[in-house]
Symmetry: D2
Subunit: 336 residues, 4 copies
Amino acid sequence: MLQLINERAEIVQEIGHLKEKQGTKRFDPVREREMLDKIVAHNHGPFDDNVVRHLFKEIFKASLELQEEDKNKQLLVSRKRHPEDTIVKVGDVEVGRKPVMIAGPCSVETEEQVDTVAKGLAEQGIKLIRGGAFKPRTSPYDFQGLGIEGLKILRKVADRYGLKVVSEIVNPADIEMATQYVDVIQLGARNMQNFELLKAAGQVKTPVLLKRGLAATIEEFLFAAEYIVSRGNNQVILVERGIRTYEKWTRNTLDILAVPILKQESHLPVLVDISHSAGRKDIAIPIAKAALAAGADGIMVEVHPDPAVALSDANQQLNLDQFNELMTALKGSQLL
Amino acid sequence: MLQLINERAEIVQEIGHLKEKQGTKRFDPVREREMLDKIVAHNHGPFDDNVVRHLFKEIFKASLELQEEDKNKQLLVSRKRHPEDTIVKVGDVEVGRKPVMIAGPCSVETEEQVDTVAKGLAEQGIKLIRGGAFKPRTSPYDFQGLGIEGLKILRKVADRYGLKVVSEIVNPADIEMATQYVDVIQLGARNMQNFELLKAAGQVKTPVLLKRGLAATIEEFLFAAEYIVSRGNNQVILVERGIRTYEKWTRNTLDILAVPILKQESHLPVLVDISHSAGRKDIAIPIAKAALAAGADGIMVEVHPDPAVALSDANQQLNLDQFNELMTALKGSQLL
Amino acid sequence: MLQLINERAEIVQEIGHLKEKQGTKRFDPVREREMLDKIVAHNHGPFDDNVVRHLFKEIFKASLELQEEDKNKQLLVSRKRHPEDTIVKVGDVEVGRKPVMIAGPCSVETEEQVDTVAKGLAEQGIKLIRGGAFKPRTSPYDFQGLGIEGLKILRKVADRYGLKVVSEIVNPADIEMATQYVDVIQLGARNMQNFELLKAAGQVKTPVLLKRGLAATIEEFLFAAEYIVSRGNNQVILVERGIRTYEKWTRNTLDILAVPILKQESHLPVLVDISHSAGRKDIAIPIAKAALAAGADGIMVEVHPDPAVALSDANQQLNLDQFNELMTALKGSQLL
Amino acid sequence: MLQLINERAEIVQEIGHLKEKQGTKRFDPVREREMLDKIVAHNHGPFDDNVVRHLFKEIFKASLELQEEDKNKQLLVSRKRHPEDTIVKVGDVEVGRKPVMIAGPCSVETEEQVDTVAKGLAEQGIKLIRGGAFKPRTSPYDFQGLGIEGLKILRKVADRYGLKVVSEIVNPADIEMATQYVDVIQLGARNMQNFELLKAAGQVKTPVLLKRGLAATIEEFLFAAEYIVSRGNNQVILVERGIRTYEKWTRNTLDILAVPILKQESHLPVLVDISHSAGRKDIAIPIAKAALAAGADGIMVEVHPDPAVALSDANQQLNLDQFNELMTALKGSQLL
């Protein structure tokens, strides 16, 4: 039986090569149905027709995968396809080489605010500042960010302290413009399956930080990254930021299992956003430790000079003292 | 290839009959592993070893199912096994024949309270009263129900109005006792996988109303019912009562799709609990209509003479006027 | 105490009017914190400081809402703001007046395919055809739709049978173009919080059909609609299409409770997509009945001449015979 | 206003003391409703009646909490009530003092099987062996465990190697018996809200290991522990074992955030079950590290001499070599 199955596979492989030359689609559902009908017509049991249909569908599927093996069976983001770790270079920071910290305010509000945070980061040796200029907000009446003005503030202050800028872009039409101001284009959770935005981000050379969607599966997350990489930009950083569940004591449920699974399935660096996942800062230190112990390539955290008056996400942003405590704890545990 | 596969199946079937006579287990994972190793050792491609392993596992699985087909492949609760609807008889009420209404207070509090509701139900022609005597409550400090006293009140008042009693039992040791007071033993959502309780309920003749667990799959729900039916009690009513999701504007998310699926997969009657699913009474009428339109065999609803002062679930219980409105709406739409 | 609270409210209201004239922001978190600190400094118990802080925050919040009452407290999409049903006009179809049916293939594949379906719909008296030209697909290697060619096919065939076209747009830059070909712009589940797309759709006059996000709350859904309406386009149709849960026997869990809640909270019409919610067609009839019984203003369903060979969503599309059965069932039950 | 609010609070506090002496219930919803009606009747705006009602309800609630403060406001399991860590003593193992490892087969199958595992554990210096004798299984046709015979095998083998036994009990009637054989009574995820079982476990002195329910909130988990502790048994170990979500690449989603939250909210020790959460063993090492880094007091893991032939949970059990690798990794990282 094994021999017959493999003989069939060889024939299928040859047909595949032929079809490729002719530009014909490899998977042909009409023809598959006809073949199944023919096989079932010859079935005299004891397996009933449905079982036979199922077994041959499996055999067909395996054959089809064989045809596609050298092509897209293995995604570009897959570690099977590319076993070495991808290192994302942001200036002289190499994300994926050793753990990094990305910190900064939820929203860019004023130059003073950004300056205070940037100074604090620089004192801790942090190289990457984040800050939101285009804010995707649930309500149209909430603060929507300063837009391009925000990007300019970020750039100016970052340059002052020798930092690199990470900021979210929400419109495909803005990707090109953004490359002038930011060093890493962030694509947010709500836009993880905004495929037009992914495609646009795939067409520039600027590194992309892609957040997992609110309720995206790990598989969908990898496919979203594939949209970017398949367009030519392989500088992609994945960020686990919690998924939506019924639990109410946290904003989201941090899917820590996703970290080692993503590292195993993909060669891309994986960070953990400890602010959006928990939505509360009292457990920032143990979460950050857990993320790094699980193999994350770094941490994202929101830091604001005075979180109580922040224009967004007041509850989850650390102030600078709290941020310094976090850094001390992580350095002390030798995880960072 | 088909011929070979079916020849193999015949041999397997004969081996199955032999094993059965000898009392040997049909599925033998060690032997299966040895066989797979042997087959893979003979594999020379183009399928790689994993694909061959997968295909033969499928063939083995199909063969095994063939062996088990006449036995437990099809559950007792499955419609494939038993195509006709099961009618659960509670006095002269036939649940599964035409839509029924089960109503009553969340908790039994006093005889007066139960009497007021019972009178209201009787006036509407309702035959089944529900009321909680043993209350599974999240906190040990919440009202835990009147226990056996509650059952006695229910029995007494129900007899006064010619009603049948539905009440929850939570301890396997109480099932036997309960049959003296109740006409239908309710097993609650938190106990759907309390298998000892299910087994105990399977050993009496009293009908059982089984609620779907807080986050149970439809498959697990059917298996839970199978625990009862496989012990000898086939008088089981299934109740969809909402599942736990992230949505906050309702207490649970009513899984309306489960209603036609359960009706299709199983021969048991299926009700919908419109109180615990929504956790709010302002949408009682459209939900009840939707449930019946989806094919439910009836509705469960909480009714209390004065919900604002109820000892539990104040927000979701209808008062008698609201209940009468619900009945009028359902009768008007000819769904009940 | 009541008197004092109301006196405070009057003063706050006056301050609000003043601030408005001056263009000052009404909510001032720094000042609020100072006031709370001052109040707590005067607290001598027995309430502890946290309780006092909480109570006064409630009083402040109520006061703030008072200031905003005449403005955006009540969303434009809210029924409190606009008690009458919004009727969305698509040609001579009035969505929201009486139940409508929107049907058609998941993807536009060929003119023949669309023509076959359109003919079938016209024979049933259906006025609205749906079909995907821009397909947001999980994998970049899946069929991405025919794009503008697809829209042209839809338009041509629809005109042939006097139908109106509903089709999804995924890029803000395409909204303007789309208005030439489609009668209703569909915004898909993955784009429910693609706020740039929502804003663009708010700036045209073409009706918009907005699907609930994969794991969006009802509240987020209404806010997404508010993005469109607040930009000037009040012709919005809401579509419940199931939410993501752990249940595996259905593609999504249809949140039927959302239907009466949306109807109660908002004046916009609400449809139910019975194809994407269930992801299986064997229960199409009971779901459609349940949706209409729950108060939905219509049904969306996928229909394909030969679902087995469809380029997407083969399992959930009805063929024309099945569609005719569905129509017969709905007309028979007088729900449509 | 503050003064008036506090004066009211004092009066309420006195009334509370009086009610307590008289044995009257503190919360009286009828009286609360009457008071609210009276207050609203005196309301002349600008706050509308609903706002006034809401504000006074908040004030009433705060007052009620004041009454209950010295009583059950703070649960027995709460760290506010009992700030020091509870150390659960199992022989000379002190759970909560330093990280522990609990390992062993999913199900007890034979004495040889348990002996092989026990020997491996003893060689690693592990003191606590787990093994299932009463197995709560989804299907009534799955292997249900050896029952009391299983407990006897565990006891015998554990004594041979100086180990302590952890095993699940599923029937309240078996708790007393179990104390003869096991050193720690495990209560499983499916029984987390089997309150009769919790109560029974609260009445013995044997330590209890309580697993979080399939879809339980952290709050419900703490209340479940409170059922045990409030009956007199404070030797309770909490186990996070993953919650049910839509993600399919893992059996459950490990809620790592629950670990620091539980440690913060409660004084009870908290373990993480790395087998049931992930349901796959390829990521055992990073998960275990993450759990300990997050502050867990230990790890639970399934170990079987030959997982491929295990009667349950074949995919997630480590073999002894894999277990030794895990131990080496944890000791190397100084987390254990």
